[in-house]
Symmetry: C2
Subunit: 318 residues, 2 copies
């Protein structure tokens, strides 16, 4: 085997896992397709990762990358295409070739879906956000837009409603698709203006977001609205297509409480995992737990009574 | 209600929880009986909390306490005696009186049992340790003692065996009580010397640990052994006696994957919780998750399908 552990993904979950596996003297590679540090490096300011009262996403990314590098895992810049079972482990196939390993920790994250409109990338982290819990407090007493009509939009909107002055809820349909209790609670808020059948076509700014252009898809009418932030909740795409393990209906990986997937020796941690919420500190903790579980698996001392049911290949292929 | 959330325990789990509940503008108290920062403040050097490549336990404790204090939770120095259900929440009874709250996050940790011998407290964090994963790498290629014969002693001993020169396994009985697979694997190690029917009676040192005195309880014979570290695994005591929720046979609190206990509105996080392993980064992640779950509970949007079965008071009292 080339490795004891291959970690797929170099964000907080993957880097925390590597710190633990390397400290346990397991031969470890981390494979990352974009930025070591993960998607959180795009956040303007992080205030909720315990120990760092205020740090930029970029500096945080550097700090956690350097922490992992102290233990010399092999850090490989490549995109993973497949994880295939072999005798005694797995072959991880990527742009960097095929590497063999006893265990795999999938920490590949989830990419928020984007609107694909002008200003969105330019002001991401400076008013454009996909995380109210992270960025909401920066916009206390301001006006903000929330885009979307599902559970995430309303759930995060409820959180925002207690902080901001006013929320414009912008949804492309004429009714919400969030679960009823969220809709009921949202309807009781006094500081929400609904823009139905509407899409955001442009985000304007000057260093930071200053406003949006909203188009009514029924009438074709456009209006400009002053907001300090746009929170986008039109879905996420977990980056898990390369691995055949049990997943939920949205592609997030199912695990037991020890981060074990349905395939023995494959673990998952962080935003790619089926869970209540996505936060860097939670991902770092899950990465550490997955690493300790992988180590125990290699040493033959990990119980697997709670592992999710094995994948039925027929069901996946059909 | 006096509070939305009362957090019991001021270590990494409790402080991380408070950061999240305060950022969500929930009225929050943290009650700690000893040191804000938690038991980890007694560790010499922390190298495995992602983002801090090397920090003393004392400095880490200060950093995480200051992070939480930025959000002004009420920080109360007191010992909690009971958590009692009341209409709409709980009354938390402590040396500081009775405080009412909608939700409780139990983050009260676990205290390792100590040997109660000379030198033990004096050299704690400087050779005396209760965490091989934390401190093992400092003793690479050295001789160390492991005290105990249960799962923890052997599990952590297996980890140490790959790092250190030699392990003296000191056990007060003539056979181990760890699970068979751990005993089998431990017996295959070439760098372990067993001292059966033996107890450590003294830890000697000079700034750091230099050796121990071991007494054979059958023959009464004493010998001195040079070691650089003593890892003590004679059990832990979770600090959970004040709360009536479902626990495992050792007193650790059972939760679902969202940190919910068997009592609605009571959550648990960190070392007091039933889990695979105990690590500061994992505790901080669990504290954040418990806080988000508590917030959702207050807002009426937390599902409880996986909550551990409700406690049967008869069973607890009998």
């Amino acid at each position: 085997m080339d490795y004891d552990v291959i970690v797929i993904g170099g964000g907080p979950a993957g880097l925390s896992a590597a710190v633990y596996t390397r400290r346990a003297e397991l031969k470890t590679a981390i494979i990352e397709k974009l930025t070591f540090g993960g998607i959180i490096t795009t956040t303007d300011l992080i205030e909720n990762y315990l120990g760092f009262p205020a740090i930029s996403g970029a500096d945080f990314g550097k700090a956690i990358q350097q922490h992992a590098m102290k233990y010399n895992p092999d850090m490989i810049q490549a995109e993973v295409h497949a994880v295939k079972p072999i005798e005694g482990g797995y072959a991880v196939e990527s742009d960097a070739g095929s590497l063999t390993t006893k265990t795999v920790i999938v920490a590949s994250g989830a990419a928020p879906k984007k609107l694909g409109i002008p200003g969105e990338n330019e002001y991401f982290g400076r008013g454009v956000s996909t995380c109210a819990t992270c960025d909401g407090p920066f916009f206390a007493k301001r006006d903000v837009a929330v885009v979307g009509g599902g559970d995430s939009a309303l759930s995060e909107g409820l959180y925002l409603s207690r902080l901001v002055n006013k929320i414009y809820l912008i949804h492309r349909r004429d009714k919400l698709r969030a679960e009823p209790i969220l809709q009921k609670r949202f309807s009781e808020l006094s500081n929400v203006e609904y823009l139905w059948n509407s899409v955001v076509t442009k985000i304007a700014g000057e260093k930071k977001v200053t406003g949006i252009t909203v188009k009514n898809v029924t009438t074709g009418e456009e209006q400009e609205i002053n907001v300090s932030a746009v929170f986008i909740y039109i879905g996420e795409v977990p980056q898990t297509s390369f691995v055949d393990v049990k997943k939920d209906e949205n592609g997030y990986i199912m695990t037991d409480e020890n981060m074990q997937t349905s395939s023995p020796g494959i673990f998952a941690a962080g935003d790619c995992r089926h869970s209540l919420t996505k936060q860097a500190i939670i991902s770092a903790g899950e990465g550490a737990l997955a690493a300790i579980a992988a180590q125990m698996y290699i040493e033959g001392r990990l119980r697997s009574k709670e592992r999710p049911e094995a994948v039925n290949p027929q069901r996946i292929l059909s």
